[in-house]
């Protein structure tokens, strides 16, 4: 199957392979896909207090195009705010990697992975602030 040079490059020199600590409050983790489908992507984002994605890491079980799509995704999100990252469309990945029609679903999965990681981060945040809110109320109740 002929691959574009970009896909081959990302496959042979993947960017940002690895993992952050899942329990780190500044990390959002998104896992999409399923082994039976032959595609599983794990994308992690390290997001700072200002809501900017400082760093990203990925691991992927899938074909060359899937690996390239997720590798590219980690490059695309770095430096973006969470809102900007939510706007990333799979079509941008398709264009950048010159993916053939049969591989477009790999780019869709990468887009899903970004969103899933952000949603995970936001859910964590909500729990943290809810907990912080409860603690603050208790403190105020005690102080009163």
């Amino acid at each position: 199957m002929p691959y574009s040079d970009k896909v081959i490059d990302h496959y042979e020199n993947p960017r940002n392979v690895g993992a952050f600590d899942k329990s780190d409050p500044s990390v959002g983790t998104g896992i999409v896909g399923a082994p039976e489908c032959g595609d599983v992507m794990k994308l992690q984002l390290k997001i700072n207090e200002q809501g900017v994605i400082e760093d990203a890491k990925f691991k992927t079980f899938g074909c060359g195009s899937a690996i390239a799509s997720s590798s590219l995704a980690t490059e695309m999100v770095k430096g973006k705010t969470v809102d900007e990252a939510m706007q990333i469309k799979n079509t941008q990945i398709v264009e950048e990697l010159a993916l053939p029609p049969v591989k477009i679903h790999c780019s869709v999965l990468a887009e899903d992975a970004i969103k899933a990681a952000i949603q995970d981060f936001q859910a964590k945040r909500a729990t943290q602030s809810a907990t912080a809110h409860v603690l603050a109320e208790e403190k105020a109740a005690v102080a009163a």
């Binding site: 496959y11 896992i31 896909g33 399923a34 032959g38 060359g64 899937a66 690996i67």
Partner: protein
Amino acid sequence: MSAVKTPIYLDNNATTRTDPRVVEAMIPYFTDVFGNAASRSHAFGWGAEEAVDKAREQVAQVLGADSKEIVFTSGATESDNLAIKGVAEMYADKGDHIITVVTEHKAVLDTCKRLEKDGKRVTYLEVQKDGLVNLDVLKSAITDKTILVSIMAANNEIGVVQPMAEIGKICRERGVLFHTDAVQAFGKVPLDVNAMNIDLASITAHKIYGPKGVGALYVRRRNPRVRLTAQMDGGGHERGFRSGTLNVPGIVGFGKAAELAREEMAAETERLIYLREKLRRGIMDAIDEVYVNGSLEHRLPGNLNLSFNYVEGESLLMGLKDVALSSGSACTSASLEPSYVLKALGVGDELAHSSLRFGIGRFNTEEEIDFVTHRVIHEVSRLREMSPLWELAQEGVDLATVKWNPH
């Protein structure tokens, strides 16, 4: 390690390089003895006919058959069509039921599907985990309307060799014709149409270092005499079984390839098993979570089909770009469906996506096998470092318990 020339060809179940000795045998039939084998009136035709007769004999010998029982075709796909449709049509008043196996080649399965559209009934037998047909299941599937059993001698993906003599015995006892797609087995493992009670056998040249575009169908003439409705009309060639001018150079090549295969089978078998086991042990000793698909015991000498857990097949092929292999992964098939043969073994979609098929052949060297062993170990390790599934497994998570988010 001495330098090997890349890319290395390890896909000999897909096709083989034409042996230079075969090419040499064919050339005169393009430029010098170029007559139409059916031209009865001159030496050009007689020379061609003589060459075809010789090839017929060479091919028949590999099967333990009579040369009159060999019908030349354009390849095994055509032979499968001729055998299955030919029997279905000829014996229509005897019955309408055909038995085959889920792991057959598409040439058999798609032909059966077409017959089902035409109103025939087909039973697709499941296979055991090792890829073998269960003989009791076969026995109970046969009815008084069964006219044909079609079971391949050796499987193209997993190399598993079926118990041919036992199947033939069952069919003979029940009075049902036994056809076998013998494409992968012919010239590689011993076949004897009489000892195995085979009535029809599809074979091709390009899997045994012969040219592409030529094959044959063995059609039994005695005990019983098998009749077929021809699928190609026009001139009545090949005793009415298959019309069309014979591909003389191709047939000559086929004959030569068959002869070489028969002469070299014993030595080749020993060499290929040695290389295959070296490859298998080399890989499986170095990395774990590697599984052999299909019986290792009842298998073609040069075939190895391995699943590498937690690594996807197409990405592995990409990493092994200097080696020609194939995978059972969905990504490598046009339909995005994983290998139906591996599924039939109960391998599971995930491991089917992680499989590689190695087909070792006559022209592969030990140096090449050593090179490939190292490359596979290297690429699998690299891809596992990148795999979220491997990561979860290392953490002790049972992947079967994970809730995935497929899109």
